[in-house]
Symmetry: C2
Subunit: 145 residues, 2 copies
DNA sequence: CGGTTTTAGGAGTATTTTGTCTTAAATTAA
DNA sequence: TTAATTTAAGACAAAATACTCCTAAAACCG
């Protein structure tokens, strides 16, 4: 079951690392992130660029540059992140991949899927990066327990 | 959010069609399925082959041949189907894509993800093809409401 | 038997996702 | 000012997924 793309996975891991390892307003370099989390530097750079464009992060070039949160991680919900990295209709997809779904004549899977999808959405919308990240040990973001 | 691969989507749609449109032990040809559901014939053939190998379907060649349920659709759970088409650890994946996860030192997403994943699994394991398919209008499997 | 219909199986192609590389621009510091 | 460091941006390559095509094998029908 692949809910998130690699981009989202990497993005989330980077953000959680940032929560746990940046004290205040310092910039953390993408190089450090990529090495500590074992993610391709260039690939991660692009992912974080998207988050910078989306005003979740700010970036700064040059020595001692890097990225930092633009808004406090207490106010960044998981749903904000995945909406940027997966697209706006992330929580609105059909289980069977059919286009143009409404409520007029739902297919037999609709009710079932709508509930699951809704629970996931709600959970993502109520969970902040800070609430996940304050316990984020580096090791747990590298290889899984 | 893409939970199922195309193979699973097509496989499920075909099975649901079968529930709604096969009276008893008749074979339904893959050609009919592919045309009615607008799925590539050759691609669908392979997907259904997997389900035949897994003993969910039986197939028969030659004129008036096709596929049919080997076990009654009341006893085929959604989880049985996706396990065949997505692999055995479909309900056991990590949200962050990290390998080798246990419970020793769960990462900050674990509890949250475990619950969502568990709900989905339970729902799939308790829902039979028959219970979804008996209301499956053809149109609802073609384009979505 | 020979021709037709149907699934089986495998090779090959196309598209999407993921990852790499190269160059440019901004910033710092010597 | 020059060199070093860092993000930005886009072209390119590799891998995974999705799809197509061709030939075989089984079953049927005349
Ligand atoms: S009604 Fe059916 S086709 Fe529409 S979103 Fe729900 S599952 Fe998908
Ligand atoms: S503990 Fe973390 S790494 Fe392990 S399965 Fe759960 S979310 Fe994934």
């Amino acid at each position: 079951m692949k809910v998130l793309s690699k981009s989202s996975e990497y993005g989330l891991r980077a953000l959680l690392y940032l929560v746990g390892n940046s004290s205040g307003q310092e910039y953390v370099s993408i190089r450090e992130l990529s090495e500590q989390l074992d993610i391709s530097f260039h690939f991660l750079t692009k992912i974080l660029q998207s988050l910078t464009h989306a005003e979740i992060l700010i970036s700064y070039r040059g020595p001692n540059g890097g990225i930092a949160f633009k808004i406090p991680p207490e106010k960044i919900m998981l749903s904000d992140v995945v909406r940027v990295l997966e697209g706006d209709d992330f929580f609105n997809t059909c289980l069977l991949g059919l286009p143009g779904c409404g409520a007029q004549a739902p297919c037999p899977m609709h009710q079932f899927w709508k509930e699951i999808r809704g629970a996931l959405k709600q959970e993502f919308e109520n969970t902040s990066l800070a609430s996940m990240g304050h316990t984020a040990l580096l090791s747990s973001l590298r290889l899984g327990p």
